[in-house]
């Protein structure tokens, strides 16, 4: 079953972007079918393609995978980005979940009402500087290796570097005192497939603009 993975989502970052990054970093070409209207989403639902009536959904290897983490776990396992044994997997999971927690705060920022945005941004910055960046900097310092786990690139590094780009978009000064994070970002960004993904014209999605946000609200029936 040799076809490329097919990603079903709207044309924006949302909960699919971490999958796009992971596939790109793994050197896997993929296709996308964008949901443009609420009717498109209903069609997928009526087809029985969405296990819990939700997207992201990724068609890969004859499976219709739902749930972001299940999708990421599958891809990471398939492309050897999930450690070599159960203990490495535990570390990779912990680091990935920490990244996901901060990433979730950034994700929800786009649908935060304007009046609450400033407070949320302040909270993200505080968590970044006091909780997450120090934790990952410490991991890298503790073993002095190039990657978070097992001296080898894993999904944890890719998820973290993706997050570093979002944090940079929010405030480029936040990473200033974290030299090992800066080095990891530079290292992973220099891989040919990642470098290509970072260039204009790739499948990497930009931050949500007003028009795309309106479209997403209509598709997902958000208030």
């Amino acid at each position: 079953m040799a076809g490329k993975p097919m990603l079903h989502y709207f044309n924006g970052r949302g909960r699919m972007e971490s999958t796009r990054w992971l596939l790109a970093a793994a050197g896997v070409e993929f296709e996308e079918k964008f949901i443009e209207t609420a009717e498109d989403l209903d069609k997928l639902r009526n087809d029985g393609s969405l296990m819990f009536q939700q997207v992201p959904m990724v068609e890969i290897d004859g499976l219709k995978l739902a749930q972001t983490r299940a999708i990421l776990n599958y891809i990471a396992s398939k492309y050897n980005l999930y450690g070599k044994d159960i203990k490495e997997r535990a570390l990779i999971d912990m680091y990935s979940e920490g990244v996901a927690d901060l990433g979730e705060m950034v994700l929800l920022l786009s649908i935060t009402p304007p009046g609450e945005k400033e407070a949320k941004i302040a909270q993200i910055k505080e968590r970044t500087l006091n909780r997450y960046f120090p934790a990952f900097e410490k991991v890298l310092k503790s073993h002095g290796q190039d990657y978070l786990v097992g001296n080898k690139l894993s999904r944890a590094d890719i998820h973290l570097v993706e997050l570093l780009y979002y944090v940079e978009e929010l405030d480029s000064s936040l990473i200033a005192n974290f030299p090992l994070l800066k080095a990891l970002k530079a290292r992973v960004s220099s891989f040919p497939m990642v470098k290509k993904f970072l260039q204009p014209g790739s499948q990497r999605k930009p931050p949500l603009d007003e028009e795309s946000l309106e479209k997403a609200r209509k598709i997902f029936k958000l208030k």
């Binding site: 819990f52 972001t68 299940a70 776990n73 535990a90 912990m94 979940e97 909780r131």
Partner: protein
């Protein structure tokens, strides 16, 4: 292999309850150190025992595991409750992630405003019966087996049973339209390790009450 796992959390369900269910189902005896004061939490943080300054944290096999999913995955894989191959593991993952979305509503419920709570119960019941239960009813009906995946007990069965039990506490007849889930619930409850966990005197925690909520705010509020 060494000593028993040690769970660090409050004396209540919260995000640790799934871990208790899973360890019990796996037949693993464990110890608990209950957080009762802000000082205890601060000591854990200051001692660098919490990777992201948060609980749950489980000490096991020389590690200080944090993040609920990481803990569940480790225990599941170690105790052969995570399928026999990548495809089974992936199905278990999908099912668990869906159920955890539902369980999240249950976990957060005690912390919403009292006047909002009845409406939330209606909402989570509606989500359960319209989005989640039909999926698992169909899976069980289609393969006719006792367990959700691979004809053996897995993390998915345990988390589903946990969630059904919690919902039944609020809406007793919630499974009335789902005969296969009713059968599932009975059968999984009778797995010897799980049956033991469901008996009085086990480490299963009671439903969250006002005292629990007060305690959470006292210990965790900034």
């Amino acid at each position: 292999m060494g000593s028993r796992p040690k769970l660090h959390y409050l004396n209540g369900r919260g995000r640790m309850e799934s871990v208790r269910w899973l360890l019990a189902a796996a037949g693993v005896e464990f110890d608990e150190e209950f957080l009762e004061t802000r000082e205890q939490l601060q000591n854990l943080k200051n001692g660098n025992h919490l990777l992201f300054q948060q609980v749950p944290m489980v000490e096991m096999d020389g590690m200080k595991l944090v993040q609920t999913r990481s803990i569940l995955h480790y225990i599941a894989e170690k105790h052969r409750l995570f399928g026999n191959n990548l495809k089974e593991k992936t199905l278990i993952d999908m099912y668990v992630e869906g159920i955890l979305d539902l369980l999240e509503m249950i976990i957060m419920h005690p912390f919403s405003k009292p006047e909002d709570q009845p409406k939330e119960v209606v909402n989570m019941t509606e989500k359960a019966v319209s989005r989640y239960f039909p999926v698992f009813e169909k899976i069980l009906k289609d393969h006719g087996q006792t367990f959700l995946v691979g004809n053996q007990l897995s993390l998915a069965d345990v988390i589903l049973l946990q969630t059904i039990s919690a919902l039944e506490e609020k809406t007793p007849n919630i499974l009335s339209a789902f005969p296969h889930l009713q059968g599932f619930s009975k059968k999984i409850s009778n797995v010897p390790t799980i049956k033991k966990f469901l008996e009085p005197g086990s480490k299963k925690k009671p439903p969250p009450d006002d005292a629990y909520v007060k305690n959470v705010y006292a210990i965790f509020a900034p």
